[in-house]
């Protein structure tokens, strides 16, 4: 059974880079790794998706090593508005597994 594990919480300060790592136990060959952000009283919102190596978009980078047993979401220069819960997930044709979420608190 696929299982994703991530830290429960992290603290940071404005302007710092934040890295959140997720472990992907039993990730299937065809699974993608996807990260979501969730604010209170809202549904999760897509941040970034990758299969392996590095993916970058306008808000984050995603690092996936060759063995794909982990992934690291990197948020450059966080601000107070990045305070949220971040979920990693592995998604395939018939499998969708989310981690339990990492609560990121950004301090001024």
């Amino acid at each position: 059974l696929a299982k994703t594990t991530q830290p429960i919480s992290m603290d940071s300060y404005e302007g710092q880079e934040v890295n959140i790592t997720c472990s992907h136990n039993n990730i299937a060959t065809n699974d993608y790794i996807t990260w979501y952000q969730q604010f209170p009283s809202q549904g999760p919102r897509f941040i970034i998706q990758g299969y392996k190596t590095k993916v970058t978009n306008e808000v984050a980078s995603l690092f996936i090593p060759a063995d794909r047993k982990s992934s690291t979401l990197s948020l450059p220069r966080v601000s107070l508005s990045d305070t949220a819960v971040y979920y990693c997930s592995q998604t395939g044709r018939r499998a969708l597994t989310f981690g339990s979420g990492t609560r990121l608190q950004v301090q001024p």
Partner: protein, 112 residues
């Protein structure tokens, strides 16, 4: 923008009642999903559907059923609500199963 709407933001029901949660998406997505979200447990998949009238069980289907009669609408049914089904319920849709999912705002269900 993709929009996923859920019929209620808050719902209070009594034990034993039949409960319907409705979800509608407006982007012609093939796949739709129902999750429940509980503190410390993250999102757990209840059911998903990859086509009209098609459904597959997720990780925690017990006590739930689903219906997808039209492509844009996916309903979650609690046949006989119980207190342990008190939770936040999230609906999502995606074009392909492994694409990004678009989530609705959630329905907070309380079963008394």
């Amino acid at each position: 923008d993709v929009k996923v709407t859920q019929s209620s933001r808050y719902l209070v029901k009594r034990t034993g009642e039949k409960v319907f949660l409705e979800c509608v998406q407006d982007m012609d997505h093939e796949n739709m999903f129902w999750y429940r979200q509980d503190p410390g447990l993250g999102l757990r998949l209840i059911y998903f559907s990859y086509d009209v009238k098609m459904k597959e069980k997720g990780d925690i289907p017990e006590g739930y059923s689903v219906s997808r009669e039209k492509k844009e609408r996916f309903s979650l049914i609690l046949e006989s609500a119980s207190t342990n089904q008190t939770s936040m319920y999230l609906c999502a849709s995606s074009l392909l199963a492994d694409n990004e999912q678009f989530f609705g705002p959630g329905t907070r269900l309380t079963v008394l």
